[in-house]
Point group: C2
Chain length 197, copies 2
């Protein structure tokens, strides 16, 4: 068993374990010892794959960031009115967040104590800024209300989206699918709770 | 100096310091030693005021919970249509959250490792449940849309509201007032981002 396990251990499965432990204990609170125990392999085996926990963090947040920035490259994020592009980006952000739940959770929780954490926060701010720019453009087009301050609207939109990592449990009985949650976010964010009938 | 400080130390100022440290280090990560250093008084002086850190936690989260449950006792939370009462409760929840920011932040972060934490989580769920009931009633009245699943809508509404503790900084330059944030939340939650003109 133990030999098989060692043989089949890949950087990918190590990353899965590391992200789980980072989310459970916090990145700062995780030692190589914790990772070694959780993965069931020795520390020297881990060092065979990666230079240390910061590399694992970089790989993990890169996966989340690649997912998010990939959205901005999609056709529907580049073509159409600003409000259409914003709706697309909102929907896809929720879908990516749910598809890459542990990775985005980690990204949203990094604190900025290391170079990698600061880089991740900087990239995340770039993403948020691009969404904020879309919101601004849609307000200028007259498609979004102008009576709510832009910065506040952006914060609240992301507040709603990012809250998903706190309560969404894909394995819960009757859990909504990523698409259902994305639909709900788009409906609420753009049209609100009130019935229009 | 030191004598004066000791003399003027009250349970109230001790609570203020304790809540700040709990929020910075996490409740689990805070020792009486940390509290003693931050407050600038000896541990035995702290024990003169309270039985330990769990009592400080109980007092702090009680302050947040009293604020929140106080809302449900207000006239506008009891009289009117369900949607009117829900709007009032939403607005006031944001205002209380901002007025009692460190206390509500702590309440939202407790993890359930001690009796006091579990009690706080239970009370918080009771509050959320009462808001969810209002939402349900307003949907039944036909005043809120029925195409978004109730549990999802409640989660997203609280997600937006609770995110405020993550980004609102009352001392930041040009910070919005509690009333401005409450207005924005009510506008977005009930009418959405889209302009109706």
């Amino acid at each position: 068993m133990s030999t098989t396990r060692r043989d089949t251990y890949t950087p990918e499965t190590l990353l899965t374990v590391a992200v789980r432990i980072f989310n459970e204990r916090g990145y700062d609170g995780t030692s190589m010892e914790h990772l070694s125990k959780a993965a069931g392999i020795s520390k020297s085996s881990i060092y065979h794959h990666v230079s240390g926990k910061e590399e694992l963090l970089r790989r993990a947040v890169s996966r989340a960031l690649d997912g998010l920035f990939g959205i901005l490259a999609e056709e529907h994020a580049r073509v159409g009115t600003a409000v259409q592009r914003l709706e697309h980006v909102t929907r896809r952000t929720v879908e990516v967040l749910i598809a890459e739940l542990p990775y985005v959770t980690l990204l949203l929780r990094v604190r900025g104590n290391t170079d990698t954490e600061r880089w991740a926060m900087e990239r995340r701010r770039e993403f948020d800024q691009q969404v904020a720019d879309l919101l601004k453009e849609a307000v200028a087009d007259g498609d979004l209300r102008s009576d709510v301050e832009l910065r506040l609207a952006t914060r609240l939109l992301f507040g709603m989206i990012n809250s998903i990592v706190e309560w969404y449990r894909p394995d819960a009985r009757g859990a909504s699918s990523g698409e259902q949650v994305a639909d709900a976010v788009v409906q609420l964010a753009f049209a609100g709770l009130r019935s229009t009938g």
